[in-house]
């Protein structure tokens, strides 16, 4: 009940905030023109007025088909202005290659060219950043023999421009160079750790700067398969350990052999998608039934080095237990963005969660549906600059999202902080604060700058609002020392005075006390 009420109320409120946000740009122009629209109240006033005048400012932000929100320290939902708004859809027909059929993967390269694994059409579609068709790869030349693809589920472009295709039903990974010439085929991996007659069905593929090839294969629970640059199988990386709760152990003790055989097997979760950052670390998503950690950052030796906060890294923090849209988020893909920011895509509720390198949630948006900007079967996510692309395998199209002022300010501020430019970051944070006064990370960011400037009391206040106990402690410790230092004289004097008073009392007072007691008797 409470949640519903909150939804209703805050949904509206956030809508209003989004309006105010989108209108702000225009007002900035007005300011430059010399209008005295400085006060925030006036700003809001103009916003409402313009709104009432009948849609002078029409921005996509006003008809966003989903709510944008974030979680606060207490894991309550706080609705925010829209961080990203839909920016059109792209179908195969629009690209000019005929309709896509169940496309499963999407990848962008450094130039912003888009590679789509058009799975059921057995082809790879390549377009430029504006979705003009560059080429369609349907076949390649293998030692004079024309070969085609069979249900390619994954596609990846390496930093040197080579194209890697997870050719699932042909049980191989195909590497083509920029001209579409075959470089190598990775198939039929041989190793002691692989069982006899292992069938290699690659689903997703990724390549790092050293041309090591990482493959997520179907029914391969050991982890991500790693291959070297000439296609030799190196081993598994990022194995997720099975976790059994004491409760499950307890139940298994009391179940019979037959019961045990019918129980759910304790197998590690499967990886669903991956991407590689500039430093060669693998970001990989997996399905987590507990909703605790669905994205990992694997270093070259396969250890998870991602930073996470208490809320974990698994999308939504609370969910319905049964019914429609229930269960923890099922994260299907990850998009690594600049300066440690990454976005993950949830297929249960069609939401996109964006985190910074410390694991703080920045913004959550998106939803399931059939409107423009919502998904039916989201399978892959990638970015071109700030733009976010989401591939919908059911509706066979790509959803484009562009950042609003709010979203891009957050991206910018987090980026600046990642680069260590705290001063510039604070400028951005202050702008963010004008659009969303509930954003805790902003207060921590501003507080840190106060802390650096030695303004401990202001820093304390910021950290308190931002709910950062760790930094609050640092600020408070400094503030306390400051106060103690300033008042050391007074404190020492009063201590001395008290000692003298006590001494006097213990000499004189006791006598008086005794006299009184004696007189009583």
């Amino acid at each position: 009940m409470k949640r519903i009420w909150k939804d209703l109320f805050c949904g509206k409120a956030s809508g209003r905030l989004a309006e105010a946000g989108s209108v702000k740009k225009d007002c900035a122009v007005r300011q430059a023109a010399g209008t005295l629209a400085k006060a925030a109240a006036l700003l809001a006033g103009t916003a409402v007025m313009m709104w009432d005048l009948g849609g002078i400012i029409v921005q996509a932000g006003q008809s966003v088909p989903y709510t944008t929100y974030n979680y606060d320290y207490y894991e309550d939902i706080k609705y925010t202005p829209a961080a990203y708004v839909p920016d059109g859809i792209v179908t195969g027909a629009q690209i000019g290659c005929g309709n896509l059929a169940g496309p499963q993967d999407l990848n962008t390269d450094e130039n912003g060219d888009v590679y789509i694994a058009d799975t059921n059409n057995n082809r790879i579609v390549v377009t430029d950043r504006d979705f003009n068709l560059i080429k369609v790869i349907e076949e390649f030349d293998n030692q004079g023999k024309k070969e085609t693809f069979a249900a390619p589920n994954g596609v990846y472009v390496s930093s040197n421009g080579n194209l890697y295709i997870a050719d699932t039903n042909n049980m191989r990974v195909v590497e083509l160079d920029g001209e579409g010439e075959l470089v190598q085929i990775i198939a039929n991996p041989k190793s002691d750790v692989l069982e006899e007659g292992y069938v290699f069905r690659p689903m997703k593929v990724a390549v790092d700067y050293a041309d090591r090839v990482y493959v997520i294969a179907q029914n391969q629970f050991e982890g991500i398969m790693a291959f070297n640059e000439v296609g030799d199988f190196l081993g598994f990386t990022g194995t997720i350990n099975v976790q059994i709760t004491p409760w499950e152990i307890f139940w298994r003790r009391f179940s019979t052999k037959e019961q045990r055989a019918r129980q759910q097997l304790f197998i590690p979760t499967e990886f669903t998608g991956m991407e590689i950052d500039k430093d060669g670390f693998v970001y990989a998503t997996n399905v987590d039934g507990e909703g605790e950690q669905s994205v990992r950052r694997l270093n070259p030796s396969g250890e998870d080095v991602i930073q996470k906060k208490e809320g974990g890294l698994s999308g939504d923090l609370d969910w319905r237990l049964a019914g429609t849209y229930s269960g923890p988020s099922r994260i299907v893909d990850v998009a690594v963005r600049n300066q440690g920011i990454y976005s993950i895509l949830d297929s249960v509720r069609g939401r996109i969660f964006t985190y910074d390198h410390e694991g703080n949630l920045l913004y959550i948006f998106g939803g399931l549906g059939s409107q423009e900007g919502t998904f039916t079967g989201p399978v892959a996510i990638d970015t071109i600059g700030e733009e976010i692309l989401v591939l919908d395998a059911t509706r066979n199209l790509i959803n484009r999202f562009k950042a609003t002022q709010y979203g891009s300010l957050i991206n910018q501020a987090v980026g600046l902080r990642y680069d260590g430019d705290e001063v510039q970051a604070v400028e951005c944070w202050r702008e963010v604060l004008k659009l969303d006064s509930n954003f805790e990370l902003v207060y921590v960011g501003i507080g840190k700058s106060y802390l650096a400037a030695g303004q401990n009391k202001e820093a304390m206040e910021c950290f308190r609002i931002g709910n950062s106990k760790q930094y609050y402690s640092i600020a408070y410790k400094r503030y306390r020392n400051e106060i103690l230092k300033e008042n050391m004289g007074t404190i020492l004097t009063s201590v001395i005075v008290l000692v003298i008073l006590w001494a006097v009392w213990s000499k004189l007072g006791k006598k008086l006390w005794k006299k009184r007691r004696v007189s009583h008797v």
């Binding site: 207490y74 309550d76 308190r464 106990k469 760790q470 609050y472 402690s473 640092i474 408070y476 410790k477 306390r480």
Partner: protein, 206 residues
């Protein structure tokens, strides 16, 4: 009179065996005073949630409801007293309900005495010094538990083993009381709705 009783409460928390014996057999205790202590503890409990320093306070301020928290303290207190009384009646306990209420109420005094300074202290601690706050709180709670234990033991004239056993049974009794109360509540609401529907039927048909 009140002053002496109050002084005696302070004596009791320091000398539980003597103190509770006198309360049981020489009428040194006071039920209103015990209830006052429960009330004060309810206040302290709620104050701790609301006013404990930021570093040690993990409570969402939006969820604090002093009235509900104090009510909860009182309900638990009475549940324990009634539960303990019903069990000890069956197990040859010598204590009257009055004595049990007094014991439980007086036992809360140390918690009142430690929570207040702990709350004040917590407002001046930083991350590494939280331990002082927790030690102070823990000390109060441990003292309370020891007092309840020795109090129940003394007023009922039990051995330690029997006291522990009755306390475990007390919790079972509390659960049963809650269960019966809920049963009664749902039954009553059904009976009421039955009569309401008869009334409606008669009024609307006529």
């Amino acid at each position: 009179m009140f002053k002496e009783k109050l002084k005696y409460a302070f004596y009791t928390i320091g000398h539980p065996a003597d103190g509770f014996y006198e309360i049981r057999h020489r009428g040194q205790g006071s039920v209103p005073l015990a209830l006052l202590f429960v009330f004060l503890f309810g206040l302290c409990f709620s104050a701790n949630r609301q006013y404990a320093g930021f570093v040690v306070n993990f409570v969402n301020p939006m969820e604090i409801n002093s009235f509900a928290e104090m009510l909860a303290v009182f309900v638990l207190f009475f549940l324990f007293c009634v539960g303990n009384w019903s069990i000890t009646c069956l197990m040859n306990g010598e204590g009257r309900l009055k004595d049990i209420v007094t014991v439980c109420g007086y036992s809360m005094l140390p918690m009142i005495l430690t929570f207040v300074p702990a709350i004040i202290l917590s407002r001046f601690v930083v991350a590494d010094e939280e331990a002082f706050y927790y030690i102070l709180m823990g000390f109060g709670i441990a003292w309370f538990l020891l007092l309840v234990l020795s109090g129940v033991m003394t007023v009922h004239n039990y051995t330690l083993g029997k006291t522990l056993l009755t306390i475990i049974f007390t919790f079972v009794a509390m659960l049963i009381i809650v269960f019966i109360a809920m049963l009664l509540y749902s039954l009553l609401s059904q009976v009421i709705s039955f009569f309401v529907s008869i009334y409606n039927e008669l009024m609307l048909r006529a």
